[in-house]
């Protein structure tokens, strides 16, 4: 039935097309490495990366969990700090004018340069990495959430005020729910940035994690292991982003974009 096939194609082309592109690219990569005899320390073939990486599966698992912990730690810290900041920004123009320049300042600091200083200040534990992750991730969350809190239609606010709704009621019953689509927009950016932040943190201050593994492997020209870690980091980014999107769709179906 051509109609049935058309339907299947319509629903799955979003997966099939990118998957086909990735496979094609992989084959091209594999072929080029063999045809042009590229040395393995410069650009290992996908098959070599796979074999090398699988042989270190245990190690990879440990590094991956360490990175995931850092990402989630920084992400949760971002949420915990962004909420009160956004509420404060949305509540008063004076506070907003005071806080915003400081927030922008935190964004202009190069995080790679900050990490070693944080190690000196906070010791060599998990803390410096989580802080770096937080610093990279929280900004889009604060700005999205504050934008959402301020985007509530004036009529809704007046509706609440006309019943003498309190500040808390206005925040809890109107402003925060109204901001949910904005919040998730910020969360998706934050989780993506958190992957970057965690990797940066591990470059500078770590003895485990995928970022550390890339640094360690490249210093021994173990390029295939570095590539493997890179692939896992990318997959982590995609999986965590999709997890946030799924949470939004399940908990707030009215919020996610209509199809």
């Amino acid at each position: 039935m051509p109609r049935r096939i058309e339907q299947i194609w319509h629903h799955s082309r979003g997966v099939i097309l990118p998957a086909a592109a990735v496979i094609l690219l992989g084959l091209l990569w594999e072929a080029s490495v063999h045809i042009f005899s590229i040395p393995v320390y410069l650009l290992p073939a996908p098959s070599v990366i796979w074999v090398d990486f699988i042989s270190k599966a245990d190690l990879v698992y440990g590094h991956t969990t360490a990175t995931v912990n850092t990402i989630l730690g920084g992400f949760l810290l971002s949420i915990a700090i962004s909420f009160p900041l956004a509420v404060m920004i949305a509540s008063s123009a004076v506070v907003a004018n005071t806080i915003y320049p400081l927030l922008v300042l935190t964004q202009s600091i190069p995080k790679v340069a900050l990490a070693p200083i944080l190690v000196v200040a906070l010791g060599a534990g998990e803390m410096p990495r989580v802080i770096v992750t937080f610093l990279v991730a929280f900004f889009p969350l604060v700005t999205s959430l504050a934008t959402g809190l301020l985007a509530v239609p004036k009529d809704l606010i007046e509706l609440s005020r006309s019943y003498r709704g309190t500040w808390w009621q206005e925040m809890w019953l109107i402003r925060l729910p109204w901001s949910v689509p904005f919040l998730f927009n910020g969360l998706k950016l934050a989780i993506t940035f958190a992957v970057v932040g965690a990797t940066v943190g591990e470059f500078v201050a770590a003895d485990k994690g995928l970022g550390y593994q890339i640094m360690a492997a490249t210093s021994f020209f173990n390029t295939s292991v570095a590539f493997g870690a890179l692939v896992i980091l990318s997959l982590l980014g995609i999986v965590l982003f999709q997890a946030v999107a799924i949470i939004e769709r399940v908990l707030f179906p009215w919020s996610s974009p209509q199809e």
Binding site: L159, W178, Q258
Partner: protein, 265 residues
């Protein structure tokens, strides 16, 4: 309708201060009495201060001069016995229709075991009985506005302030909704101040129509509508209806020519 006065708008002047120093005189020396259970419409050109007047009655903003009394008490802050309906339905997009209707009771801490039944009754009254579980986005604009009217009615307000509530609807839905409002008001008499752009709508619904002119907004004339109720749009062809409409239009028209003259000068 010779009822006792409920709302007394007394020589109200409202100036909006703006940062560039050019103050806006939105209302000047506006007075209007609204009786208990009376239906009063306000018509006037855009920008003549109709919304501002409603917000003053609601206590959402204060007058620069003059005062507003409700039941003899001066309005200085929002009162819990006033319901508002705006031009856009402004329902909460995350709550179904029933929850939206219940929203004022939640803010007022007046949710009881019986609240849901009362909300359902109101929804039935406006023909939304089967839609209580629907989300706002699943309803047409007219249906959303009906839900917004239920939301305003559920705390049983003494006063209903409606700011161009049918302004966003198409002409047919608009006629239907105004007849429905007349029916609701007949079944549950409430004091209503109703802002509209439509002269026939104002004549059809009101006990009296307050015609305003702009810049600064002030009352041109308050016209009593003696037509018998219930009224329908078939009245539009009758002489008395046309005379009243003409009189209202004349004020608005006068107003526009004088504005044009000022603009040309």
């Amino acid at each position: 309708m010779a009822s006792r006065t409920l709302i007394e708008i007394n020589k109200i002047t409202k100036v909006f201060r703006s940062l560039d120093g050019a103050d806006v005189l939105a209302l000047e020396d506006v007075s209007l009495d609204v009786g208990l259970s009376e239906f009063v419409s306000i018509v006037g050109p855009s920008g003549c201060g109709k919304s501002t007047l409603l917000r003053l009655v609601a206590g959402l903003t204060g007058p620069t001069e003059g005062r507003i009394l409700i039941d003899g008490d001066e309005v200085t802050e929002p009162r819990r016995d006033i319901g508002m309906v705006f031009q856009a339905p402004t329902l909460l997009p995350w709550a179904n229709i029933l929850k939206n209707v219940l929203f004022p009771l939640k803010v007022l801490h007046r949710l009881t075991a019986d609240s849901e039944n009362r909300a359902r009754e109101l929804l039935k009254l406006v023909g939304l009985g089967e839609f209580e579980k629907k989300m706002p986005s699943e309803l047409s604009g007219g249906m959303q506005q009906r839900a917004a009217i239920c939301r305003a009615l559920i705390p049983e307000p003494k006063i209903l302030l409606m700011d161009e509530p049918f302004g966003a609807l198409d002409a047919l839905t608009r006629e239907e909704m105004s007849l429905e409002l007349q029916r609701i008001w007949t079944e549950r008499p409430t004091t209503i101040i109703f802002v509209t752009h439509s002269v026939p709508e104002a004549v059809l619904l009101s006990d009296k129509v307050c015609v305003m002119s702009s810049r600064p907004g002030h009352v041109k004339e308050v016209i009593e509508i003696p037509l018998a109720r219930p009224r329908s749009y078939s009245l539009e062809t009758e002489q008395e209806f046309q005379n009243i409409s003409q009189r209202i239009r004349k004020h608005i028209f006068e107003n526009q020519t004088s504005a044009r003259r000022i603009g040309a000068a």
